[in-house]
């Protein structure tokens, strides 16, 4: 039995754990404020908050309920727009109304919920973060400017904040008072007998579900599932003997918030912004991106440049495998059906290593790449490249580590001649096809230019004119 708190009410559900949270909210609980726009996580009309009891406090994150299995909200607090309503309009609702940030209104509850997620985050409430909070919400009517104005008002209020986010939000008319009782209620819920989600192992793995539910919503809802995202042991990001080790069920947001990742990649926020959207990043797992085997998986391409290693487990035994050897062909993995990715690790970069990630898609944010690429170089004290690694997605049947091209970098001084050789070699090594993400010619040109972008970023002393 799945138990969770939905707004201010305990829900105990015997529905299949693979059932979508959205369907339960709308058609079992008849809370119609959560809307259906696309059922694939691309519009945000169904956004809800999930709150998880973590070390003495509840951590809230917005997620798309159209891709969230009931099993993934077990023992959590789920908040729909109805759970944010008070007798009078909340500060967020007022801000949207005052700025005329709603027209047809269909997307509005999703925006309100995402804005509540912003108010519940302990991060400093900058204008950029306010915008980022609704990066997964699509509106077709307003042109967003009015919503931006409302967000500015909200961010301005939050800048007065002292103390914790939830208390401030309740005290300033952003959230209803019952939120203050939720930590206690969640703590209690986690201690209840029969609190275990399921006693036996399912036959099909499910992480965040952001990919599997898009592909087969009906099938997944009835599938016999093994939930990986509820396993705490699969979640941590730690340093072990000079390597960074990431649990397979860690989400993109977990990466973004990890001090270890931020230390390894000071610009990680900038890359993460290009990868899906806030409510997707909150549930999509790193391992899921790998096993999806999409030729343009953003994280896959990211980690391919890092010489990452996978630990695969079938629950009994484990084996190690370099990520670069994981892909055997289009959507073909070196992985048995009973295996799952337990962790991903890579050598922690030192001060001589530089890294950069590039992605271009039709829409810069919340879109699938036409081409993405990552490059890592280790520099000597004299400015030569000790070794270099280049990966690229969207240019072949699998996310590619460009072995030959990478080998060219070794021992070279970065300059326009090397750039030309690298681009030439990369063009030999790739085999893009024309599809809805662009023509083959475009992808070739794009990769060449993104390699230039790598050089411009990684070797900022090089004159722009030489590299163009």
């Amino acid at each position: 039995m799945i138990r969770f708190i939905l707004n201010n009410k305990l829900v105990q559900s015997d529905d299949p754990p693979g059932m979508l949270l959205l369907d339960l909210i709308r058609y079992r609980e008849h809370l119609s404020g959560t809307k259906i726009g696309c059922r694939e996580g691309d519009c945000g009309a169904c956004t809800v908050l999930t709150g998880e009891w973590k070390g003495g406090q509840v951590v809230y994150r917005p997620v798309v309920s159209c891709l969230t299995a009931l099993g993934n909200v077990h023992q959590k607090h789920v908040v729909t727009v109805e759970g944010l309503n008070m007798k009078e309009l909340s500060f967020l609702q007022q801000a949207i109304c005052e700025e005329s940030g709603t027209q047809c209104g269909f997307c509005t509850p999703g925006f309100i919920v995402s804005m509540a997620g912003f108010c519940l985050s302990e991060n400093a409430p900058t204008h950029a973060r306010a915008l980022a909070a609704v990066d997964g919400n699509i509106c077709r009517c307003t042109g967003y400017k009015s919503i931006e104005r409302a967000l500015s008002k909200v961010a301005a209020l939050l800048r007065e904040r002292q103390g914790d986010a939830m208390t401030f939000a309740v005290d300033h008319g952003i959230l209803p008072a019952y939120f203050k009782e939720i930590p206690g209620r969640l703590a209690e819920l986690s201690l209840q007998p029969n609190g275990v989600l399921h006693e036996r192992k399912g036959s099909r793995f499910l992480g965040g579900g952001t990919d599997l539910y898009v592909k087969d919503h009906a099938g997944m809802s009835q599938a016999d599932l093994e939930f990986l995202s509820t396993e705490e042991s699969l979640k941590g990001i730690v340093l072990e003997e000079g390597r960074c080790s990431i649990g397979g069920a860690a989400t993109v947001s977990d990466l973004k918030e990890s001090p270890i990742i931020r230390q390894a990649f000071p610009h990680f926020d900038q890359y993460a912004r290009l990868i899906s959207s806030t409510p997707i990043r909150n549930i999509a797992t790193v391992a899921g991106n790998f096993v999806n085997a999409s030729p343009i998986g953003d994280l896959t391409v990211f980690f391919l440049a890092l010489d990452a290693s996978l630990t695969l487990s079938d629950g009994v035994s484990r084996r190690e495998l370099p990520l670069r050897k994981f892909y055997k062909g289009y959507k073909l993995l070196d992985k048995a059906p009973e295996e799952f990715i337990e962790k991903i690790s890579f050598p922690m970069p030192d001060k001589n290593e530089r890294f950069h990630f590039e992605k271009v898609s039709k829409r810069t944010h919340l879109d699938i790449a036409s081409v993405n690429t990552a490059m890592q170089v280790k520099m000597s004290g004299t400015g030569t490249i000790v070794e270099g690694h280049l990966s690229a997605g969207g240019v072949g049947p699998v996310p590619a580590y460009l072995t030959k091209t990478s080998s060219l970098l070794k021992g070279e001084k970065p300059d326009s001649h090397l750039l030309a050789r690298v681009i030439g070699a990369a063009q030999q090594e790739i085999s893009p096809i024309s599809d809805v993400r662009g023509t083959a010619d475009y992808k070739r040109l794009l990769l060449s230019n993104l390699i230039k972008a790598h050089f411009l970023t990684l070797f900022p002393h090089l004159p722009v004119e030489d590299l163009l």
Binding site: S32, G33, K35, G37, C38, E40, D42, T80, V81, E82, L89, L92, Q93, C97, E98, S100, T102, Q103, C104, G105, F106, C107, T108, P109, I112, L131, D135, N137, I138, C139, R140, C141, T142, G143, Y144, K145, I147, V214, A218, E358, V360, S361, K362, R363, T364, H365, D367, S370, V436, T439, D441, Y442, L445, L446, N449, L450, L456, V464, E465, L468
Partner: protein, 756 residues
């Protein structure tokens, strides 16, 4: 006044089609659409699907009780395919089951054996094959043949604008509920309740008075639910009639995208001639409209393309011809702008081509040729023009010279990024071009407690029309707006409605509300005069109180209403409004089709990342002719939203059909519309306030469609940015300017590189 639905919207308490509480016994429908774009149906095998658990019945054309026909302008569109299929997604069957999931599952078990026929997706090919929806139409002014000899410069070229998916966030849907006596109520997400009523009547064979089509609101429409809501309503109503059970169909997004038409793609040829002073002397244009497989609204869209073929410019010699070409795509349909944007794009491209050829700024040509009051449109109407006023104010207010200098200096300094600037003037005619549609009715009841109920034919889809209706009633009665309630739109309350479209809904229905309220006010003044023993001419209603000769009497609105009731005076009125002055003779293609025009000018500035091909829109600075806006907040929202939708059409929104007529961009992951990061960093809107009398409600000019066309400026600004990097790039006029097209143009090989 705020949008009256705002608070409900933010609380998630507004009710859309899928939120209507279900009646017991409700069944769920799902359509099986043709898997091929063109062919002869050999066999439709329903046997496996019928055996699926939960399936109640599967309907085909054989079950139609009336006539299997839903074509609005031309009866050329069957509801269910009978012998032939004409586009992928054309309904062949409707599964009705006990659950949504069961219905969809069974749809997957239907097998259709179809002999394929050749598929045409290109309108020029269709035209060459003689496949036209209606005969071609030509608008003429002056004599272009003679005029070419007067031209110093002549440019010719071709343009292509792609379609656009409406992407209302609420998908299409309908819910039919059986009432007694063979009557049916259909809740429909439609902009056109009467069109739905007609279609349902035709399919079911029931009279129109047996059909109540009810609409509370839409989660977006943009034209997509003007004619294309009919299909789903007719399907569920037919099933409801047979089964005597409520039947609902709320479309999954992919069904909606695959089965419904979009903005019409156009391919066009132009020839433009200028004299030595850059005055446009002659313009010839041929438009090839991709209508899709059936007429839908295409003939009307085609007509508006011709009406707007010269945009804001006066051109003395014009020949504009338009072909509506039948292809094997879903019937394309209304979309904000309704053919106008497609027409304007071509003249703007022609001007850009001339400017590029002469190596001058397009703005020079644009400005020199702006239309003046009294100038004749190619269709005979004389302009009452604000074109110069808007342009000049935009230049002055936003300091266009300084903006140009900033762009130039940025481009001098930056090798990797280039900026582009373009002006986009807009002139858009208001009224349905089909004159008969310019009529509306309103029903106003005043209850004895003083509350007021208003029903019109207008459909609220976010544009704020209900708010404006409420303002009209509250202003006319001079009462607290809280006393007024706008009721759901229903064909039993208001008959023979025109669709909520053409930007004209607030004008038409607002005038009807005004008339109804004014009539009631007249009667109430008589009552007050009798009660207070004074001539009616001395009575005034003000802020909910009765005044005599400007002094308060102490009599309240509520007391007055009660007094009228006691005297058995009618507190209800049903008023009819028909726009005066307008007429059009299609035989001559001349007349006075528009009650007025809306003008505006936008300055659009973009920054192009010349390494990655992606771009940002820095600013859209607008001076817009609002007349006297009755609701600046709502009108600003329409401008901002319209601009962003127009920019989407011109930049990232790419409808992709393959050669077999299959939609490849059939989900939100493959069809991208603007998100919060892709909108202009700045949208500045200045209200050109004019108090000249016009036919708009309270002189507040229509605002729904015109701003979309400011987005066209983004395309031309991007061209300019590309040319700043690659001066010789030979760019086709092919919209949208996706990052792919931009990058390919930036690195066109044959041309010399002039960066830095």
């Amino acid at each position: 006044m705020k949008h009256i639905d705002s608070a409900k919207h933010t609380r998630g308490e507004s009710i859309y089609l899928d939120d209507i509480p279900l009646l017991q016994g409700t069944l769920f429908a799902a359509a099986f659409g043709s898997p091929l774009a063109h062919g002869t149906i050999r066999r439709l095998d329903l046997s496996d699907a019928e055996q699926c658990p939960g399936v109640v019945r599967i309907f085909t054309f054989k079950d139609v009780r009336g006539e299997n026909q839903i074509g609005g302008i031309i009866p050329d569109e069957p509801l269910f395919a009978e012998n032939h299929v004409h586009f992928i997604g054309m309904p062949l069957a409707l599964v009705v089951a006990e659950s949504d999931a069961a219905a969809r599952h069974a749809v997957g078990k239907i097998k259709a054996d179809i002999d394929p026929w050749p598929v045409v997706t290109d309108p020029r090919v269709a035209q060459a094959n003689g496949e036209l929806i209606v005969p071609p139409r030509t608008f003429r002014l002056g004599d272009t043949e003679k005029a070419w000899s007067l031209c110093e410069h002549i440019v010719e070229g071709r343009t292509d604008t792609n379609g656009q998916e409406h992407l209302y966030i609420e998908t299409q849907g309908a819910y039919a509920v059986p009432l007694e006596d063979q009557t049916i109520r259909v809740y429909s997400s439609t902009q056109a309740p009467t069109a739905v009523q007609r279609a349902v009547s035709k399919i079911t064979g029931l009279a129109m008075n047996a059909l109540d089509i009810e609409v509370t609101r839409l989660g977006g429409g943009f034209g997509g639910k003007e004619d294309q809501a009919n299909v789903w309503a007719a399907l569920v109503a037919l099933a409801c009639l047979h089964l005597k059970k409520p039947v609902k169909y709320a479309l999954p997004r992919v069904d909606d995208m695959v089965m419904t038409g979009k903005r019409h793609p156009y391919s066009s040829d132009f020839k433009l001639g200028l004299d030595k002073d850059l005055r446009i002397v002659a313009y010839e244009v041929d438009f090839y409209q991709n209508a899709g497989a059936a007429a839908d609204l295409s003939p009307a869209v085609l007509e508006r393309t011709l009406f707007h073929s010269t945009n804001s410019y006066f051109i003395p010699n014009v020949r504009a011809t338009a072909y509506s070409c039948r292809t094997h795509l879903p019937p394309n349909t209304a979309f904000r702008g309704f053919g106008g944007p497609q027409g304007m794009f071509v003249i703007e491209a022609a001007i850009a081509k001339a400017a590029e050829t002469l190596n001058i700024s397009a703005a020079l040509i644009q400005k020199r040729n702006l239309q003046r009051t009294g100038d004749e449109f190619p269709y005979g109407q004389r302009a009452v023009s604000e074109a110069h006023a808007c342009w000049q104010k935009a230049e002055d207010l936003y300091d266009a010279d300084a903006l140009r200098k900033q762009v130039d200096s940025f481009n001098m300094k930056n090798a990797l990024f280039k900026k582009g600037l373009a002006f986009m003037p807009v002139c858009f005619g208001i009224s349905f071009t089909k004159t008969l549609l310019n009529q509306a009715r309103a029903q106003v009841h005043v209850y004895t407690d003083g509350s007021v109920s208003v029903s019109t034919g207008a459909v609220e889809m976010g544009q704020g029309v209900n708010t404006k209706m409420l303002q009209v009633a509250a202003t006319t009665f001079s009462i607290d707006p809280a006393l007024v309630k706008i009721q759901a739109t229903s064909t039993w309350k208001i008959a023979n409605t025109s669709p909520t479209a053409a930007s004209a809904t607030a004008d038409l229905n607002g005038k009807a509300v005004l008339m109804a309220c004014t009539e009631i006010v007249g009667r109430l003044k008589d009552v007050a005069a009798a009660e207070l023993n004074t001539p009616p001419g001395n009575i005034e209603l003000h802020n909910g109180m009765v005044y005599v000769d400007g002094s308060p009497t102490g009599m309240t609105w509520k007391q007055l209403v009660m007094a009228a009731y006691i005297r058995r005076v009618s507190l209800s009125e049903h008023a009819h409004y028909a726009t005066p002055e307008i007429h059009f003779d299609a035989a001559r293609e001349k007349g006075h089709p528009f009650s007025y025009h809306v003008y505006g000018t936008a300055i659009v500035i973009v920054t192009l990342d010349c390494l990655r091909g992606r771009y940002t829109i820095d600013a859209v600075k607008v001076v817009h002719d609002f007349g006297t806006s009755m609701n600046p907040q709502i009108d600003r929202g329409q401008i901002e939203g319209g601009i962003v939708q127009g920019i989407g059409w011109m930049t990232m929104e790419e409808v992709v059909y393959d050669e077999s007529g299959r939609l490849r961009s059939n989900t939100l992951s493959t069809y991208k519309i603007p998100d919060i990061y892709s909108v202009p960093a700045e949208i500045a809107i200045d209200f050109l306030h004019t108090d000249r009398d016009n036919l708009a409600i309270f002189r507040s000019k229509a605002v729904g469609e015109p701003p979309l066309m400011y987005g066209i400026g983004a395309y031309f600004a991007l061209r300019n940015a590309i040319h700043a990097f690659n001066a010789g790039a030979a760019l086709p006029f092919d919209a949208p300017m996706t990052p792919e097209k931009a990058l390919m143009a930036l690195y066109q090989k044959q041309v010399k590189h002039v960066a830095g």
